[in-house]
Symmetry: C2
Subunit: 445 residues, 2 copies
């Protein structure tokens, strides 16, 4: 199906903000971003077979936002425990509830997450959780682009490890590990949870499989000072040095997506940039759990590849990349005491995926561009909070929220049209039911 | 006019969250918050003369949020300058533009601000800006409750000071200084800008007038380290000690609303709490300008009266109290390295005005309560980002944004109904026109 978005006020592209443009989408690709009026109607557009025309009047188009680190199904635990220290929160609330999760819970929790993400302009999610078959099914049903990884952790137990390896092997056999075929927006990743929950053997095995099958390697790194201390005590080196010393960075450094990366020393900063690791800033989660601050300045100065994400809902408690953009830009200015840092344009570039191509071979794009995937968001620039339009990018980063997201297109398909998402009522009802039952089970022990 | 809001899923009151309730509004007051079904229809509600019935199904009611420090008309400068250091930002962009402001600009900028605030659940704004007659007119036309102060600063120049005093005297004569009569939602404040822009003579004169006429005393305090250093160098003492030494706190401490209050030493913390000063946390503005962090813990431990606010749009760039609630709670946890601080319930209490009664004699309420003013917000609890409902208050603080605000009532009047605000299109068009012309004038010098 071909789509013409006519007479957009603005298009935010890889080369800047263009005014008065139309966008032509052929199938799953953007084939033209051109001056409005140079083919206003379907008949005169020069595109054969325009089957859908969308008015862009009063709208700006930008690339769909990319959520680079999440645990989608944790929407079911939104507000279940807040304002607590990490260990009692995990041990008394989150883990007991996760221990009672069913495949059905994960399906509906992920569907709920996908709708929340679509409503806030996100077209791609990089997920790590349990029951990956249900996560795949939920993202496929949502229409979003998604990378799905089964969270792996063996806590050093060889039997546990062999069980996890078998699970992953059977999951990869079933779903196919290679980059997806045409039209498949969901693909798999290798997701060893962290250096403090995975043995070196599991980390290395996961790297070997990821290298052999061309998978992204998704993990948590250097999130807390305590994690670094534990690694120093267990392995005698800091977490990134540990990953390097067991050969993981050599094998899959450039396909590694490392969430949080707060407590990095100079040598680790150099390992990150030297191996082309993609680091993910999670400002809300880091602030809510008092984890510390992502060292944006040092990473940016080294040219590190970078993305942005809300983490899971339990430590946020939303999945809104507009929230994260504002938080990231404000937190970095606050942290360094310098209001010129992480300016709006750079923030938007990170959030749209323009500062890392790690998912590029799997079909995920960055900023909007001719020839790129048709993953885009139309924002209402006539909304009061987007007025006036002195600087569209500033308005997107500092003033927008999900209320201004009007229409979302992913892979050429319309996922939200004028504020309406398919099956929302059903998903909200089923997720609410699952959440209530999950908590009942968790509390009954 | 009497209003019945029937079958609300939740009502957030001064005594906690109640489920399945109806609210009766008679005129401008909430007269009953009672179990749903105990008078479902207008005929059986036991309220005479119910002229409007609103369905509360799928909705939670909470008190309207209170924006305790803003410069509303600065909406016209949204995105005009970002990611800059304070001095070049003020000197090269903001002040030249403000020098070209017309009364018409201030009217439409304030109207735009009011719509943005209403859309994000705010029913009261405490403003400080220029052309107060236009600000009063704009807030009256918007239907919001507002406190309006003419920003005063003499930079130590006696002639300048006499001019400002005459302006204020004539403004007070024209509008009446006493608390408003029945039905008037807009009232005046005394607004000396700060200790670094006002001479001691002006600060004292403003305090005398405020004391004599029962006005709130609105000022900026201890926002930057530089301001404290300047005060030490000019007056030999820190800003709050300076205010105290010239008798301002003795006269009007308990009616003082001090924005920012970041750089407070122990003696100043004690002055704040001892004199009943109301301090205002402005997290977005403080982070964006790298000013520092409001010492919530020390203030809370001393029982200081406290409110929350977005500041002006130029340093935020929105006026959204949902954004500010999340930011405040996250920033405090981050700042102190303790995720238990500024929990959701306390954050909501501060944002609804329940932690300071400084505006109480002017008709501004705190949390929802029987007998209190009918200033309330209906939020859609069936929205994906508000699902599930394990903890409504957590969802309001950490997950909500303006997209879930459905209906806003102020002083018993409906300001927004199912997402629709009167005159929005006209206000957006006029404010856009004024903003474009203002910037053109500012740039032409």
């Amino acid at each position: 199906m071909n789509t013409l978005i006519e007479n957009l006020d603005y298009v935010v592209t890889d080369t800047g903000v263009l005014e008065n443009r139309s966008i032509v989408i052929e199938g799953a690709r953007i084939t033209s971003i051109r001056p409005a009026g140079s083919g206003a109607g379907a008949g005169s557009s020069g595109v054969s077979d325009v089957s859908r025309t969308i008015s862009g009047t009063g709208r700006a188009a930008l690339a769909g936002l990319k959520n680079a680190h999440t645990h989608a199904a944790m929407t079911l635990l939104r507000g279940y425990g807040d304002d607590m220290r990490l260990q009692p929160w995990l041990e008394n609330l989150i883990w007991p509830a996760e221990g009672k999760l069913t495949p059905e819970d994960v399906y509906w929790g992920t569907r709920l997450a996908a709708i929340e993400m679509i409503r806030s302009g996100t077209t791609f999610a990089h997920d790590m959780y349990f029951y990956p078959a249900e996560v795949v099914r939920a993202f496929r049903d949502s229409g979003m682009r998604a990378a799905v990884g089964l969270a792996l952790f063996d806590f050093g137990d060889p039997e546990n490890r062999r069980g996890q390896q078998k699970n992953v092997e059977s999951f990869l056999r079933e779903y196919g590990a290679a980059p997806p075929g045409a039209g498949d927006r969901v693909f798999l990743t290798m997701a060893p949870h962290s250096v403090y929950t995975c043995s070196p053997e599991l980390l290395v095995w996961a790297a070997e499989v990821a290298e052999a099958q061309g998978l992204v390697y998704h993990t948590h790194m250097n999130e807390t000072q305590q994690e670094v201390d534990q690694c120093l005590s267990a392995h005698g080196v800091r977490p990134f040095v540990h990953l390097d010393s067991i050969g993981v960075l050599e094998r899959v450094g450039s396909r590694t997506v490392a969430a949080h990366t707060i407590w990095l020393d100079e040598a680790e900063l150099d390992l990150v940039s030297g191996h082309g690791v993609t680091v993910v800033h999670n400002p809300a989660s880091n602030m809510k759990l008092s984890s510390g601050c992502f060292p944006w300045k040092e990473l940016h100065e080294r040219g590190a590849r970078m993305l942005l994400a809300p983490d899971g809902v339990a430590s946020n408690n939303s999945l809104d990349m507009f929230d994260e953009m504002k938080l990231a830009a404000l937190l970095q200015k606050h942290h360094y005491g310098d209001p010129t840092l992480l300016p709006a344009e750079e923030t938007l570039a990170v959030a749209t995926g323009a500062r890392s191509t790690v998912f590029g071979s799997h079909g995920v794009g960055g900023a909007l561009a001719e020839g790129g995937p048709a993953d885009l968001v139309l924002v209402d620039v006539t909304a009061p909070r987007m007025t006036p339009s002195h600087n569209l990018v500033s308005n997107l980063v500092y003033a927008a929220d999900s209320s201004v997201v009007d229409t979302v297109i992913c892979d050429g398909e319309l996922l939200m049209e004028h504020g309406s998402v398919a099956e929302e009522e059903t998903v909200v009802a089923e997720a609410s039911r699952c959440a209530a039952e999950l908590v009942r089970r968790a509390r009954s022990g």
